[in-house]
């Protein structure tokens, strides 16, 4: 069943403790924000960008690591890796075809499988579209 991927999304112990860390945060949407101040500034007067930035990098929290571009070697390694996967997948498709020819199935079942495979297979087709 495909719905399985919804039920397998279980929170792990590590993740649960991350949520506990959030417990002291007191989130309340119904306060009067028109009088709310942060460091002497009216909250409604602070530009949204500044609020967002402050949220992601609060002064006392460790700054989030900057997003660095991949080095040339990393890009090359990644390109080779994906090329290899593509090769392997082509091989697997050929192997499957051979196997199917040798072991034919009743047509309706075969058709259902073909449809399913086509759908999951399709990225190769997409590149030509």
């Amino acid at each position: 069943m495909i719905g399985l991927c919804a039920t397998t999304q279980i929170i792990s112990w590590d993740q649960e403790t991350k949520l506990w860390d959030g417990v002291p945060f007191d989130i309340n949407f119904s306060q009067d924000f028109s009088v709310a101040c942060i460091d002497g500034r009216a909250l409604t007067g602070i530009p949204m960008d500044e609020v967002f930035r402050a949220l992601l990098n609060p002064l006392s929290a460790p700054a989030l690591s900057p997003v660095l571009p991949l080095s040339f070697e990393e890009q090359e390694r990644s390109r080779m890796f994906w090329a290899d996967i593509e090769k392997q997948e082509k091989k697997e498709r050929k192997r499957k075809l051979k196997w199917k020819r040798k072991h034919p199935k009743p047509s309706s079942l075969e058709e259902a499988e073909k449809n399913f495979d086509r759908i999951l297979n399709d990225l190769g087709v997409q590149e030509n579209e």
Partner: protein, 233 residues
């Protein structure tokens, strides 16, 4: 005022803005939820109690516009983090409402159908939903559809493996799932990168033959903002 109070105040304010239909606020929340900041996760949790299907359906004044509904629907799908509750009912209502003007909405609805389906994978209706996702992935180059197809592919692989031999270790990953993730990973999609690393973690083989992990440094938050409207196509 200490940092926790400040962050609480800011998140409360963002939540308040979101409840009033502010698009920048919902986009910020959607674009940053993958970072799993506890205060933001808690804000989403609180918002899911307030911004329910009833609120969205009862919005006759047009507070929640197309862009807002798309991003709230995406948050409610819960793919950005396992810490986010999958509120499929709210997500469904959002995507239903914007279906006429957002081409990806059909694919999101198809994914919700699949998540809620209790039929076998190859059931006719499921095949139709998969086809909808495939179309969106190939014709619109929709990264999210590629990722969810990869997920479906990986979970059906696990299920097959379980049926064949539950005790056998997982020593290889399904190539189809890997191929489906290639483009989203190259684009730096956080969900694709995390899912790839989760798949690699499932492998029970020596580290020398294990595929490499994807570094989170290649995440590009901008790819999350993928809303296309019919008018722009």
């Amino acid at each position: 005022m200490n940092d926790i109070s400040k962050i609480s105040m800011m998140c409360s304010f963002i939540g308040y803005l979101i409840l009033s239909g502010n698009v920048s606020a919902i986009k910020f929340l959607y674009g940053t939820a993958w970072r799993e900041h506890p205060a933001l996760i808690k804000t989403i949790d609180e918002l899911q109690r307030h911004l329910t299907t009833a609120e969205i359906l009862g919005d006759t004044r047009g507070i929640y516009g197309m862009e807002f509904l798309y991003h709230w629907g995406m948050v409610c799908l819960g793919e950005l983090s396992p810490l986010i509750f999958k509120d499929l009912k709210a997500a469904r209502v959002c995507f239903e409402k914007i279906k006429p003007s957002v081409p990806q909405a059909e694919a999101r609805l198809a994914y919700i159908e699949l998540l809620e389906s209790t039929e076998p994978a190859k059931d006719y209706h499921n095949i139709c939903c998969l086809e909808e996702l495939r179309k969106c992935a190939s014709k619109q180059r929709d990264l999210f559809s590629m990722i969810v197809l990869a997920k479906i592919c990986f979970y059906s692989f696990l299920e097959e493996q379980q049926q064949r031999n539950p005790d056998a270790p997982i020593i290889e990953l399904p190539l189809k799932a890997m191929r489906l993730l290639e483009y989203p990973i190259q684009q730096g999609h956080p969900v694709a990168i995390r899912f790839w690393n989760d798949m690699v973690n499932c492998l029970e083989c020596p580290p020398e033959i294990r595929p490499p992990y994807c570094a989170e440094k290649s995440i590009c938050q901008q790819v999350l903002y993928d809303l296309k409207s019919s008018a722009s196509m």
